[in-house]
Symmetry: C4
Subunit: 201 residues, 4 copies
């Protein structure tokens, strides 16, 4: 039960975040193409954040699938992750409405980095609670993909002040590496039976 | 479990979309009929989108009822559908607040069309994951209703620039064809035992 | 499953409605009592609507407890109810921000009346789907409380144009009659075993 | 079922509250550090309220874990708690946007105090419904932590008009005492088997 409620609560928060972000796509006053143009960067930033939140939901889901015990520490590590994710709509809108200016673009990376760190902390907390024969530890292994993502975010943050589009390119690339379907799943392995490595993010 | 969480997440997103749309019905400053009048088109657009989202929720529900396996591909196809649905509040408000101007009316159709395509993709992904004896494929059959809806949306989009009310009439007509109760269900067949053909949309 | 998902979706919509209403309590610019004063009627209107939505959630919950079959008609009757409930935040804010002016107060009653009618329709749809030995029909009996509420709303609507405070008094009174705990439940009868008469509203 | 739905509804409301609070972090117009500065107090107030709502979610969860019977009174006591919690976004924003001015800071404490009282009422209602051998009563014992929190809130409210930062310090301290992990849980006791004392808050 505890696990179900943790999942339901997390799903609720992520579902709301993904949805209220769209409220930043403020309805323009005019009704021609001209009126729509300033919304293009906002819409693209929304798309990117939608994908990031989708990835988190996806991976969170797989991670909890391999989790059997929920301790008080896990509950708080999960809330910590949700806190960073909850800042996504703010940084998305700030970056989108300012034409990807350096500071907003860097701050977007900060939220991505902190979310990734929070995810890793949650993962570590669950593994520690599971003890030596942790199912999750076996699935995650060395979590190279997760670690690489964090390094890339850390690089993208200062880069935003030099070449902001490089930072954006990094964010998009990281998102794509997580989007690409896991081969084992595509091969038709049922998620129910052999959960995808509940990797970082 | 995976399926439950997919349903819960989708329900959450659709419930939020259907509800935050109403926030676009901004409270007028006056308190007489005059103050209410500009809200009429917004309210009608809201009603139409409420019905569309209700249809999607309904059909999504039936489709997943006939689904046994959730693969990684299904998760992403579902998020793809939710992305297009999440644009509904924006286009609804834009169309409603601009007296059904051509471009907003066309864009409304674009979101409807993309949502319908995303729904079909999700359906195809589930059927492919189910293999040759797919329960869903048997229920959907040739999905004439779904295909016809997409054709009508595709016609309505350019029409908006010529006769915008014709486009609106098309949107309303498509919604009505999905609203009309399925005869088998009305005949008292229990949904639990013989699910309604989980058709497109 | 169908029933669970119907409940979850309805709970989601009502939870969101009850929560986004509070967004209409706009943060004032000043920080003294003076700045807070205009919010008092809005806050009271919010409290009243919170109670109404709470009553609906409560009764919806009891009604579905006595429901075994969900047909297509039930799904749509439920969405119809949710549509009227979704207008609550709008009329609440309009009434609250206009010092309970006649038209907003009347419209508040219209939404209450339509919600009550929609609830009754949903109840009738479920009873018809259950057939002659309907558990719900036995529990509802003649539904006097529900019918009386509708009559009172219908009286309150025109009254708003003559004595608006009388209308408000009627709304408050109806809410109170539904709030008063059901004696059987207070007597300690477990809800699980002998559900409270799933009455109207 | 009744209990599940009560939990799901409460989770939904708390998830939405925690998430819409972030909407008060309004996107600034500029894109430099200067533009971000006025948001710092709002962001800190948001962080504090996020933690408070997280604590409530956590404890609500533990409390219901030790609950077997849901009566009509419990349903309403729960809605009463949700009402006070629903005012959190408003007071958070008011305090944050006014640089922790006396009145908003006091009102923040009023909402904390009323939420705490509502939580205690809910706890008492559940214990009374459980009868003499209440599992929850055994777990809560004398609820010193809960009582102390309420006393501290009651002290912080008038203090806000004299030394507002002292009030803030009290709020932060109370939050920390609830955040500190429960030693028994940290010792690895499974939540599922021996639920943490479902304490007040």
């Amino acid at each position: 039960m505890t696990k179900n409620r943790l999942e339901a609560f997390s799903d609720g928060v992520i579902a709301i975040l993904i949805t209220i972000m769209v409220l930043e796509l403020r309805v323009p006053h005019g009704s021609d193409l001209e009126a729509l143009r300033p919304l293009v960067p906002v819409a693209l930033a929304y798309l990117l954040s939608f994908i990031f939140l989708g990835i988190y939901w996806n991976n969170h889901h797989h991670m909890l699938h391999a989790t059997d015990r929920i301790t008080g520490g896990v509950l708080w590590a999960n809330l910590h992750l949700l806190f960073w994710l909850s800042l996504t709509p703010f940084v998305t809108a700030w970056m989108g409405e300012n034409d990807v200016a350096p500071l907003p673009t860097a701050l977007y990376g900060v939220v991505l980095l902190c979310s990734a760190i929070a995810y890793t902390l949650l993962q570590t907390t669950i593994i520690r609670a599971q003890g030596p024969h942790s199912r999750l530890a076996a699935a995650v292994k060395d979590d190279m993909k997760g670690k690489l993502s964090m390094v890339l975010y850390a690089v993208a943050i200062p880069t935003a002040f030099v070449e902001r589009w490089v930072s954006v390119a990094i964010y998009v690339s990281v998102a794509l590496t997580w989007l690409v379907p896991d081969r084992r799943i595509e091969a038709g392995v049922e998620v129910e039976k052999e959960p995808r490595a509940p990797a970082h993010h």
